[in-house]
Point group: C2
Chain length 577, copies 2
């Protein structure tokens, strides 16, 4: 923990002189040996706007730890007293990930209003489909008014258009009142392309780049303060905002050669915070490593995170449903890939990855690791949004196929994560959108997007312009879809599956070794305990031997069961016990 | 999980014939190949009394899985529909052990009434002293009206005098409404000396004895059904009664040579149940092994229990406070024993145990194991009740010494467990009491107790007769003590420490490696993060260097602090940060 420091203190080892501009006044600051500056004179209390004047630069820069940016990421910061909020969640004992259902949403497009307060009005809907934890795509400040959030720059600031930090507190409180935990998506592996003034203050970045930008300095000179900057941000969400867990963006892009990796240090600090707050606090990694040591307890030599996203489940299921085999989908073409994923967690567990041109992953210790450590989805912001047109499964699949996707996600072995709107078969796409005010950056972003897809054979006209406000508008959920036709039918499917998931202990059994799959042509079965999940991915009817069971669920086309075998129409799925 | 079976089914591979006596009628039963018997004819529904007639024996025997014994352990069983209760704890998300404070109580002596309903009226008091989880000494049926509970025989039955199973449900519901978790003490290592009819039904026991009785058959022929009997009992508490965790009595006395030890199997099933119920479920062992593999995650090759009692903390603290060095206290004579316990968890971590005449224990992996896995107490039912006169620390220590015991327990590195009444310096003893109706058994129990203490030099007149109802009566808490004099002073101490424990994150920091102790004569200090805990066990004043801190707590005699050093009178303790 950073020792408590006077208000307006800032770590800025780079400049020779730092002045605080606050409430229109300029206050000289004094530097200590560690590069921390504190105001020399009196400073106002209460909510005020402020910024830092670095050396001779006349433009005030926002606080690297800013909580509020009323005029965007280039403007002045505003103080925010996080302790002023009167929390109503005194009885909240937390929400554990094991057994839970997660729901990923983007505040800007979840509701017509695009705000935290508007999102809070939809929490009852989430409870009704069995959601336990809401996962918010990044809400920290980014350039422009709308963005997925991965262009964020001020990690401690809640984006003004979403309602700012006060709205965020209200939102979390409302979630807890509804019995929902909150997971916040945070991005520590890069900074967005505009509004990142950190390098003016100190060595926040280091040599080298990952997919998204300059590397964050986690292990070079000054890296200890950069790590502290991140770890204090973790504490901020979990303490000041009562968040229940974090989703850590692309941890494979954190370049850290320290003896104790940042993620393990985070796990240690969060475990301590969890004991202090006497509630479970969850760390979920997005990882492209297929290495379960990330989510292995520290007592077993792992890094001690709780869970990680597993794309292999998505890819295997997506290919089985759609038949798409381009790019990284190629290796998942045989239906046996889905069986391997369900039985062993990773498809690539040391096997050859044709997409990567090298072997990928390592096996999971199936005898001990609980299945819920893998968070899976049949759709998520990336898998939809990184398609040229941001189209969902709804664009290509029939109702039964959609219901089979839900069945395998909600009743399969892993922690299910739904993407907003999938529960009512939203027809709206989730396209890549930005709103960079700088024309050149906007143009570069749009051109980069088109060029990326052109290299995969797409025509420029098929790729929506990320800077076009219509692209953002199209990506908003249309809630009227939830109550009619296909949406209403699918909502009924999700509610039924959520109920079954709560009733049947086998469906949340964390033992890998209890999962047994078969593949016969396009027919897939998954047995756990007394349950049988069967999906006919093929276009012709199929039959599964299942003597002495009960048919508990069938996808809309129906399934017939005669006490001995279940007959599935094309694309249909069923659950028996 | 046992497959669901018809009502009144019973596992009884021993007898050749089993008849069900129910509602005054006798119903023949049919045996299957696994030794399970089911009624051949119609059976009544609703609450009825019943028993089993085994072979030619005319006396009906209680159901091994009886939920209710209205006329004691020798009488008929009564059906109990656990699903009938209308639970009010739908919003209960569980209570995790990490960071929590546990409070051990005995239903029969906690209140004047000695019932679950009466205990429920004291829950507000428990919250006021920072308790998070209530641990009930065994409540399952035992011979007679009052007993500590370790003479229990019918593991699934709630003792009638406590209020029976319906009262138990009300109690747990009331705890949850107050924000308290419930841990139930369960005894699977032996059966009590009277009312154990299990051997008439099947091979529940096997050759050999431990300290308390015949060994339970966990690994011999038929042992799989005995294990199922135990594991279903675990499920019963956690599912039918919404309990949050179990305290497993004397697990070192479970003789199990199976490849998967009963405790690991239990950990696996409880983890699955926890995912199903989406709340933390905790398994705490009483273990005399000083082997942390018991509480090491299965992913690290351990048995996967959550925590275990650690007597070493008690012994080191008890010796430091009282100077007693008889029996197993001998090795703990140097004050450095307390320092070793706080820094490394076990004092005996491979060191010589003079009491055992052999080396004892093995070291803890301090780099990874969280400190909260050790549950510690300065008094508990055993450490008080196994003294000849069942006298508490209050009988020998002054107020400052009592407050120091509280300080080290509540603000030390481990999970604190209080014993009922210690928070108001109860002067009432907790003596060993029984109420065996059989005169011979009663006499044998009393004589055994006297003989045991005679061998340690006690006179028979100093050892209370366990069968004397006055012994039970004396052991009841006197709640009037909580509001006057010493009791009120001590209650204030406990409340202050509970507040500090919640405020200062360092006090629940689970890192062993952050604990640093010093011993100087009779002066003990424990530093963690920014906190300093100092206790002067000696009879003369002492001084501790502690520049630039703040004095947050001092025991009743007070402590003075001048910004540089804290001065402690004899027996005083203090907490600074």
């Amino acid at each position: 923990m950073t020792p408590s420091r006077p208000p307006f203190s800032v770590w800025a080892p780079r400049p020779e002189r730092v002045r605080l501009l606050v409430g229109g006044e300029t206050v000289e600051m004094t530097r200590d040996g560690d590069g921390w500056w504190t105001p020399r004179g009196d400073v106002p209390s209460g909510d005020v706007d402020y910024g830092y004047l670095l050396d001779g630069d006349p433009t005030p820069r926002p606080d690297p730890r800013s909580r509020c940016q009323p005029d965007g990421v280039h403007g002045l910061s505003r103080t925010f007293d996080a302790s002023a909020y009167d929390w109503g969640d005194g009885g909240w004992a937390g929400r554990q990930l094991a057994g839970s259902v997660v729901y990923e949403l983007h505040i800007g497009t979840f509701t017509p209003e695009g705000t935290l307060d508007a999102a809070a009005e939809r929490l009852g809907h989430l409870r009704s489909i069995g959601v336990d934890m809401v996962e918010l795509m990044p809400v920290n400040a980014f350039n422009g008014t709308h963005n997925w959030g991965y262009d964020g720059v001020l990690w401690s600031c809640v984006h003004e258009e979403y309602g700012g930090p006060a709205a965020y507190q209200r939102f979390v409180d409302a979630c807890h009142a509804t019995g929902l935990g909150v997971i916040q998506d945070v991005v520590y592996n890069h900074l967005g392309p505009s509004g990142n003034y950190l390098p003016l203050f100190g060595p926040y970045l280091k040599e080298g780049r990952n997919t998204w930008g300059d590397l964050v300095n986690l292990d070079g000179p000054g890296g200890d303060e950069v790590r502290r900057h991140i770890l204090d941000n973790v504490r901020m969400w979990l303490s000041d905002y009562h968040v229940d867990g974090l989703r850590l963006d692309a941890v494979h892009a954190l370049a850290d050669a320290s003896p104790t990796h940042l993620l393990e240090e985070m796990a240690i600090e969060v475990a301590a915070l969890s004991a202090h707050q006497r509630r479970p606090l969850t760390l979920i990694a997005e990882s492209d490593l297929n290495d379960a040591r990330l989510v292995t307890p520290r007592e077993a030599g792992g890094r001690g995170l709780d869970a990680q996203w597993s794309d292999d489940f998505h890819h295997a299921l997506h290919v089985a449903l759609t038949g798409e085999t381009a790019g990284y989908y190629a290796d998942f073409e045989p239906l046996s890939a889905l069986a391997k994923v369900c039985e062993r967690g990773f498809f690539h567990d040391g096997t050859w990855s044709s997409f990567r041109g090298r072997p990928h992953g390592r096996p999971i210790d199936r005898a001990a690791m609980p299945t819920w450590r893998l968070v899976v989805a049949n759709q998520n912001h990336d898998q939809i949004g990184n398609r040229a047109a941001g189209d969902r499964l709804t664009a290509r699949l029939d109702d039964d196929q959609l219901a089979c996707a839900a069945l395998l996600t909600l009743c399969g072995p892993f922690t299910p994560m739904l993407f907003m709107g999938e529960e009512f078969a939203a027809s709206t796409p989730f396209q890549f959108f930005t709103s960079h005010p700088e024309p050149e950056l906007g143009r570069a972003t749009a051109e980069g997007r088109i060029a990326e897809f052109a290299s995969h054979g797409w025509d420029a006209s098929e790729v929506p312009d990320p800077q076009d406000p219509a692209t953002f508008a199209r990506s908003r959920l249309d809630w009227s879809e939830a109550s009619t036709g296909r949406g209403a039918r699918m909502l009924e499917v999700y509610r039924s599956l959520a109920d079954l998931r709560r009733q049947l202990p086998d469906l949340t059994d964390p033992a890998f070794t209890d999962v047994q799959c078969t593949v016969d042509g396009r027919l897939f079965t998954l047995r756990r305990g007394r349950t049988l999940l069967a999906v006919n991915f093929g276009g012709s009817p199929a039959v599964v031997e299942a003597p002495g069971m009960e048919l508990l669920f069938a996808t809309p086309a129906g399934a017939s069961y005669d006490g001995e075998r279940v007959s599935l129409p094309a694309h249909a799925g069923a659950l028996l016990a």
